[in-house]
Amino acid sequence: MASVVLDGRREPSGPIVGVLEAEGIVLGPPEMLRRTRYDTFDGRLHGKGLRLEARTRDTEGHALVVTAGNGPPARLFLSAPLVPTEPLAVTTLPPGPLRSRLLSPAADRALLPQLTLRSVRRSGTAVDADGIPLVTVHLDSDLEISRPGTRPGTGADTTDAVAWTIEVEELPGRHKPARALLQTLTGALDTDPATPAAVEGDALERAALAAQVDRRGWRGPVRPDLDRHAAALLGLRAVLRSFADALDANWDGTVDHLDDEFLHDLRIAVRQTRSLLVEGRRILPKDMRARQREAFRWFGTVTSPARDLDVYVAGWRTLTSPLSDEDARALEPVLAHLAGKQASAHAQVAQGLRSRTARQLREDWRAWLDLPDAEVARGKHAHKPLGEMIGARIMAAQHQLLVDGRRIDAGSLATDLHELRKDGKRLRYLLEGFGHLGGRKRSRAVIRHLKDLQDNLGAHQDAEVQADRLRQTLAELTDVSAEEGAGEPAPAMLAAGERLASILDRRQAAERADFHDRFAAYDDKRARRTVEDLVARMSR
């Protein structure tokens, strides 16, 4: 089962129709066809070998069409067309095979329109004596490709490199007729030197290629090639530049809140940048470092409430899963309340990121990153080897983590564990950014080991934050209903809320009880030696 497409830039239809008719294929009347290709920002469907399109055709109506590889299309018929410039959420599709297939790769990411292909299509099928199809042909002409910007209103550019395409659709068990027809067609078109050879795929894929749609999508910033002997300042600047690329790439999607992952990735870029600005002491120029730390703290603050609420709302089902159905239902007003806050938090993010302050900060930062290396002011240790400088920072972070961790005992406060988690994060960012300078495998092993400890500390803190937020929300809801004169909120809700909060308390306590062993495993002689080894290698 496959489809093959031929294309060209000059008007073909005259001779082709004749060639097809000689092969027993009578093309149907011309119909308007509009196809819009969708994928997530990070190309998850493409990664899974799937392609999604929304199709509108006179005789077929509106449908979502999914193809796997070069296989036959599966459809979901829609009662109305989709707006070809607007993102689509898989979760809004009705249950069925199509939704199930899209859900696992794209449950938490918006499907964004990438390009729209309009054409006039004529189709025809050759059948055998039993009426069973042998081969189907689609002739598309008057091709018009447009690429919607992901943001409504921003310029859509048009490409029209391809004027027509012929798709030859092979059917199962009918390889020969399809091949034969393809040969005939190629022969008939041979006179036109502008006709390239047939390629696997269909008109829409051909159009995506012509319009240079990046089918693989965003795959994270390009990681700079670091040299441990190079000057530390150069290395840091290269890494900071890649973080800035990630920030830029996720900016528009965050402002429009296309899905939660944009903000998440943007915040990772912000945190990594902040962390590196801290580590860059005596390497980066002093006043710039102070200014940018301030700027990135601002980015962090502006985006933090929205991210917390995203996590809470998206994780609601998992969070409430230990409750009875009745309790879960009773807590629905809490979710609704949080969702309302989430929406306004995102409005604030959008406002913040659209502000003049944000634009100024971003421009300043880019300007510094784009400065030629020779013009950059230097910290005292800017010229020292990158490996050595970062190695020292890793040792310092590791030392801090061990000292703080060993100090924790039964009497320690929860905040002491939160502080320890921060120590761990500092170390993790260093390892993730530069650990490979001491060997990829060794670095991955250290990160894995650290992750075991961080998971425990993370679960401990999450449980606390979730319980706090829940209790706080219940209190807010009580205030709201008092203000509205509605009296006390439903006792069932308060009771269910308290039950959930105490489950979270117990979870936190369990993680706390687990901490000792986890830390002991991290603070193990052999494990410590791996870190020392890694640092020794990167500093050599």
Binding site: V65, A68, F77, P95, G96, P97, R99, G173
Partner: protein, 247 residues
């Protein structure tokens, strides 16, 4: 990919009629369907105008090591519906299965390579509860049993339920009334009893000559009688099944 099997211990109850018509209805929802005819009689193969023949050693080839289904698949006159034809050698299917390791996993093990190509596989089983059927049912998500509303049919229904219940990995068991003749008092009474069962679907397929005409027409009812009661009933049956296959 989901697997729906039409099966029953009893013969001639409408398994093939249900399999072919439900498969055809599913394609109207854009679902890519493969109908796998497991019955050596090949009624479904005949109705879909495919050749009653499997290349490469027939049933033995299918069950043998390294076999593939894809090369046997054929298009049908219903767009989106493909068929895996039957072959007379399927009457020895049990014997061939007996020769291999884990025979009950054998047929299901052939399906994963088709995972990307189809959303739904409809199995048309021969009557009975043989090893071949058990093997097919092990890969099945929903087992659909047509029941002609007579007392005896009820008995075979319970029997098949027992066969299924004995297995660890078992499909969801559902029955639907088939060939209902409302003029018969006994059938009306039986239907009332059946309707109380949770595993019996609400849709009832009436006894009508339109279904019989599938033979001479060699097509699903929708192709030649789109506005008939039978077509409407199969459409409704499919719509009742959809949420049970995909939640």
């Amino acid at each position: 990919m989901k697997v729906l099997a039409a099966a029953s211990i009893k013969g001639g109850v409408g398994k093939t009629a249900t399999a072919v018509n439900v498969a055809a209805e599913a394609t109207r929802d854009g679902v890519r369907v493969l109908l796998w005819d497991l019955d050596p009689q090949g009624s479904a193969t005949y109705l879909l105008r495919a050749e009653h023949h499997l290349t490469g050693g027939g049933a033995r080839g299918l069950v043998g090591a390294g076999s593939e289904l894809a090369p046997h698949v054929r298009a049908t006159s219903v767009p989106g519906l493909h068929v895996l034809p039957s072959d007379l050698s399927l009457r020895y299917l049990d014997r061939h299965l007996d020769d291999v390791d884990r025979p009950r996993r054998r047929l299901g093990a052939l399906l994963p390579p088709l995972e990307d190509a189809y959303d739904l596989v409809v199995l048309d089983c021969p009557p009975g509860a043989s090893l071949g059927i058990e093997s097919a049912l092990r890969a099945t998500d929903v087992l659909l049993v047509p029941v002609v509303p007579t007392t005896l049919a009820m008995l075979t229904l319970t029997q098949l339920e027992e066969v299924v219940a004995a297995r660890r990995r078992r499909p969801r068991f559902l029955a639907h009334v088939s060939m209902l003749d409302r003029r018969k008092k006994l059938q009306r009474e039986t239907v009332t009893t059946l309707a109380e069962r949770e595993d019996v679907l609400a849709t009832m397929i009436p006894n009508t000559t339109v279904v019989e005409r599938m033979g001479p027409e060699r097509a699903p009812v929708r192709t030649f009688a789109p506005r008939s009661v039978a077509t409407a009933a199969y459409e409704q049956l499919w719509h009742e099944l959809t949420p049970m296959l995909w939640r």
